[in-house]
């Protein structure tokens, strides 16, 4: 039992589940230690029997495969989950990866392929089909794009007054002190700060100072 890969199969298709159990048991290195027809039962049983690898159908009633994977990552992180999906959808694959699945296998692939994925995931490898790899690259590109500055450098022009305000903020002055220094109302300073943050799409004064400092926009003291 020690050298066998202990697996659990959760699928509401009784025939497929029974068939997979029977075929898995014909493999020399795999043993099925549990099976369940629903997400809820699978969750309870997996937490109790702690298989090394769990095959989970994505579309089970009462708790789908993605939700189940997310819970298992918290409650039984050592269990490696392989999701069995019907359709090759980028969003679905991404949700599975984000939920913590170690692999995603389409039911349109063969049983032999599934066995290879189980062995690979059991060795600690994350299984990645060409489709999954493409989805991952797309998502990484999207995330990288989201992290890029939304405002291209040089495309935003701050007024001379706004640059004065940022410079004084960088010296640690409050709005009231800036107002006194520039002989304007405190509310006017607040408006300038608001406009600066709005133009630069930044969250706070510190970010504005950092932005100006990185671009040598701060006015030098005379």
């Amino acid at each position: 039992m020690k050298d066998l890969i202990q697996i659990f199969i959760a699928d509401d298709n009784g025939l497929l589940r029974e068939g997979l159990v029977s075929m898995m048991e014909e493999q020399e290195d795999i043993v099925v230690i549990g099976q369940a027809p629903s997400g809820r039962e699978a969750l309870e049983d997996i937490k109790s029997v702690r298989p090394e690898v769990a095959l989970i159908d994505i579309g089970m009633p009462d708790k789908d495969g993605i939700e189940l994977t997310r819970i298992l990552r918290q409650d039984a992180p050592e269990v490696k989950v392989i999701i069995l999906g019907m359709i090759d959808l980028t969003d679905e694959i991404m949700q599975c990866i984000e939920a913590g699945a170690a692999g995603y296998v389409l039911k349109e692939t063969s049983f032999d392929h599934l066995v290879k994925v189980i062995r690979s995931v059991h060795r600690g490898e994350a299984f990645c089909s060409p489709q999954m790899a493409a989805s991952l690259f797309t998502r990484i590109a999207e995330l990288a794009n989201e992290r890029m500055p939304k405002i291209p450098p040089g495309s935003v022009k701050l007024t001379a007054r706004e640059l004065e305000v940022i410079t004084l903020i960088s010296e640690g002055l409050s709005n009231k002190q800036i107002a006194q220094r520039l002989f304007i109302e405190t509310q006017t300073v607040k408006n300038h700060v608001h406009n600066i943050l709005d133009k630069l799409q930044l969250q706070n004064r510190l970010e504005a100072v950092q932005y100006a400092r990185e671009r040598n926009l701060l006015k030098k003291e005379k």
């Binding site: 509401d12 298709n13 009784g14 025939l15 497929l16 029974e18 068939g19 029977s22 349109e108 049983f111």
Partner: protein, 122 residues
Amino acid sequence: MKRSNEKIKVILASRPKMLSDVIRNMVEHQQDMEVIGEVLDPIELLIAAKEIPVDVVIITPLKADGKPRICFKLLEEHPFLKILILSAEGKTAVLYQSNIPAIHIEKPSVQAIFQTIRKSIQ
């Protein structure tokens, strides 16, 4: 009527592939049955049924609502053929035969499915 030593010949027209592999394995575990072919679409199935002597066709349509149209065509051309329609989600199984009312298999387990097939062939 089949001779007692003759195996029941089965053609699989099932999708997805994983389910097809499972059904093939189940059939191969029955001593009196054998898979003689596997087809991917209805056209291939019609051709195969014409060319190969077959007793049973197991079809898993993606949408199992009512009798698939291909059943009418197959039974018209091969009146001794038995057609088992399994829903892809595995919840329903119906055996269609020519001039005999369809047999609905309650809770289609492996055992129930193959017993129904055997009875229909006898």
